[in-house]
Amino acid sequence: MQTKPRFRFLPSPLHSLLLFTVWLLLNNTLAPGHLVLAAFFAITIPLLTSGMQDPHPRFHRPLLALRYVLRVLGDIVIANFEVAILVIRPSKHLNPAFVAIPLSITHDLPITLLASTVSLTPGTVSAEISEDNKWLYVHVLNLMDKDALITLIKQRYEKPLMEIFECSI
């Protein structure tokens, strides 16, 4: 758990980086004036909102994170095709199910990320997280093998997230 920011004027550098990028994205530009503005907002906005941010586990291994993002994006594309077919086919072929997935990660942010990933990827929607943060309830559109699904989610998504946030192993 990170309790104190490392730099007073840059409480969350990652956020700042994100904001910096987004500003340039928004303005479609790399003009010097906008770089200054982007830097300005990247510094001021996190300062302004720092009070509104709960502490989160520290972020590690950016490369792994990038790989994770790309993997999820790829899975989204596939998921869409699969779901598209399921939707178009008559619904009697569907095999929906509720599945409870035991969680190893504990903190809010990683759990949220995992739940989001699950929702964005093949045929599953995160429906609920148990109060003790130990179970993720998932609705599956077309369940083949329950255990395989649990393993897949834990291996493919939870593990990298755990590594990225270096938590509780």
Partner: protein, 931 residues
Amino acid sequence: MNLLWVVLLPLIGTLVPLFTERFGRNICAFCVALLPAWSLILVLMYAPDIFNGQAIRQTIEWIPAIGLEVSFRLDGLSLLFLLLILGIGLLVILYARYYLSLKDSMSRFYVYLMLFMAAMVGIVTSNNLIQLWMFWELTSISSFLLISFWSHKSEARKGARMALTVTGAGGLALLAGLLLIGRIVGSYDLDTVLASSDIIHAHAAYPVALILVLLGAFTKSAQFPFHFWLPHAMAAPTPVSAYLHSATMVKAGIFLMARFYPVLAGTDLWFIIVSLTGLTTLLLGAYIALFKHDLKGLLAYSTISHLGLITLLLGLNSPLAAVAAIFHIINHATFKASLFMAAGIIDHESGSRDMRQLNGLWQYMPYTATLAIVAALAMAGVPLLNGFLSKEMFFAETLNQSVLGSLSWTIPLLAVIGAAFSVAYSLRFIHDVFFNGQPVDLPKTPQEPPRYVRIPVEILVALCLLVGIFPAFVVGDLLHIASFAVLDHTVPVHNLAIWHGLNLPLLMSFMAMVGGVILYYNRRHLFEFQSHFDTTDAKHIFERTIQSLVKAAESITNTLENGSLQRYVFTLLLCTLVMGGLPLIELTQNSGTRASIPLDGVTIVCALLMIFSAVATVIWHRRRFLALIFLSVVGLIVSLTFAKFSAPDLALTQLSVEIVTIILLLLALFFLPQSSLKESSNRRLSVDLLVAGLIGCVIGTLCYAMLTTPLNTMSDFFIANSKTGGGGTNVVNVILVDFRGFDTLGEIIVLGIAALGIFKLIANMRIAIPARDDKGRAWSNDPHPMMLEVVSQSLLPLALLVSAYIFLRGHNMPGGGFIAGLITSVAIIQQYIAHGVQWIKPRVTIDYQWIIASGILIATATGLGSWLFGQAFLSTWFDYFSLPWIGKFELASAMLFDLGVYLTVVGAVMLILANLGKLTTSERLDIQENN
């Protein structure tokens, strides 16, 4: 010297009692008397000029727009009345000093009395019609105060109100009459008016003006059928009756007729109305007076009767009759004032005014009795007393008329009958009070009153005698100049003497005497005869009339203003329908010459979406959440419409407002019923539907007609000057912050005020919080879902960045302070939704109210900045700068203005929404639904 002072002195006199009461009653009364006395001296100083046939005038301009001048004139008639008003007024002041008991507020009494006196003086000296009317109304007002002096008594209040109503109504008629005369003559100057008798007589509106003026005079002078207020005015303290109801107020009506005698009299209409009214009043008053057991009641009806006599005389259209009328004015004032005073003394000393109780007072107060008897004899018209003289003149004049054509002989006969009754009631006054056995159950043992209270009576009775014995010497000149004024400078020959030889009038007097005595001796039969008649008191009729008026008014109001908003809105919509729809009927063709835009599929689909959703909102309006969802679809399509028709700023604004509205409605819906039963009947629904549908048709037609007509607008100016003059390429935004920045300033102020108002509404609101939802389900136990919390938190900086982006580009591209403000607010609200108030509280310590205020201040200050450069408020400034490496950039004061907008929006939205959240408490109770 100044004529103005004659009026001003009594008027100033109204203030005297307020300052002198503390020095004791004697000093107070003395000081109060000083000013009218002074005024009287002034009048007397003018008297020689008047007796020389002059009229004195004084005019000051006041309100020319209504023809009102401060204008006074003193002529013979005024002089006569001034002497009566001021002279008897002084006597009444003296009398009242001893009459009023210690409980009564002396200063209050004197204030009212002086006010009244001033008003009377004003009436008789006015040389301007409007001013005359002003004083006329002042007498009504002050008499109201005087009559209701003992306001704790119900009859005093009612009597005063009745007097005020009747005389007030007459006053209004008089006003109309005077205005009409003014319009006919073209001036409100009395001199001019009095000189325009031909114009007035010839004018088509003469009868109307005459009737209106006479209504004023008759009500004031208690002429039939307006006589009924006077007896009830006897609830006033006796000094008031002595003054108002003998010498002054009731005489104001007579004065009015005398004043306008030159211009209004002389026609058949005048003749018929005035003389017949007078005659009826004379007879009625005299008849009823006989049956009154109340001493003052008797005197009141006697007054009515004598006023009728004077009116009759004035109505006869004969100069000599007018002289007689004026003479009787003087005589009646003296004997009636003294009689009232005597009655007051009797009442004061014996505790009763009921003649059934009062008997044999001669033994107890012989001196007072003597005075009263002399005065009563004057009233009866006994020779050697003043009443005899004028009554004889009256008889003579009744013989000289032809009111009723060949039936005119009845008038002298009726006059004699009236006189006989007058003798009878005078006899009753004398006999029933001072003789006729012993008193019955009097509250007090009667005794002679204090010395000073008799002085006024003595003076007046002495006058009765003096006038009665030496008429020409005492009042000859006064009567002459007064008649001189009334009769337009041509006074007929008359001879004021006790003895005119044996003639018909003398015989009539004699017959009246004898008749009166006979009547009085047979009074028992008369009383019995009278008791067969239902004597409905005018007071009850009056009160009942007023009551039923009020009842009728109540039922009308309750029917129309039934407190149902639906009806009010319906009326409003009907008006809208009529006003918007009628001009459309004149519209021969709806479509103009403007080329229309071809239809496309996406538009049709969006339109269908909007139509279905709008209709669904209406159909399901009682299932509120559902309706809300459909409503938001409509809002979404509206935004898309704006985008489609080239209004990106509008689309953005509509979208953001839409979301905030939905949040707001959801917040509120929680505290309101989720659904309601069908309340309106089918008939009502279909009527509403019809009206709403018709208005929809009107609006749609107007819209279509507008869309298809070509339009030349001033918008080119904005497009041409947006960049060069306002420094921005987004013309809409430049209009908002520059061309029409004032609108925007107003708009954010509206928002700010709304927030303050809402905060005010929320403060101390005690509202039940539903423990379950509308289907009876318990609420979820997860107030702040974790995922929502985390994601909302991380969205906040992004949203702020986007709002900064929208804000900064606003001047040149779609966006601006308002939308940016809404985005910021929504982002913060999202935190409230996700985390709850408790979580936010320690994290946001700023007062939203300050943000609103500083937003408004920044926007205003930006506007004010232009003052420094000699420019008008809200003149903008912008310029382009260039920095190394960064390059060229623009700075504009409009941005600062927009910042003000941004801050106000954020402050207002947050103040509204965040505080709604504070309504909830931790526990939720089951509430009783009241519908």
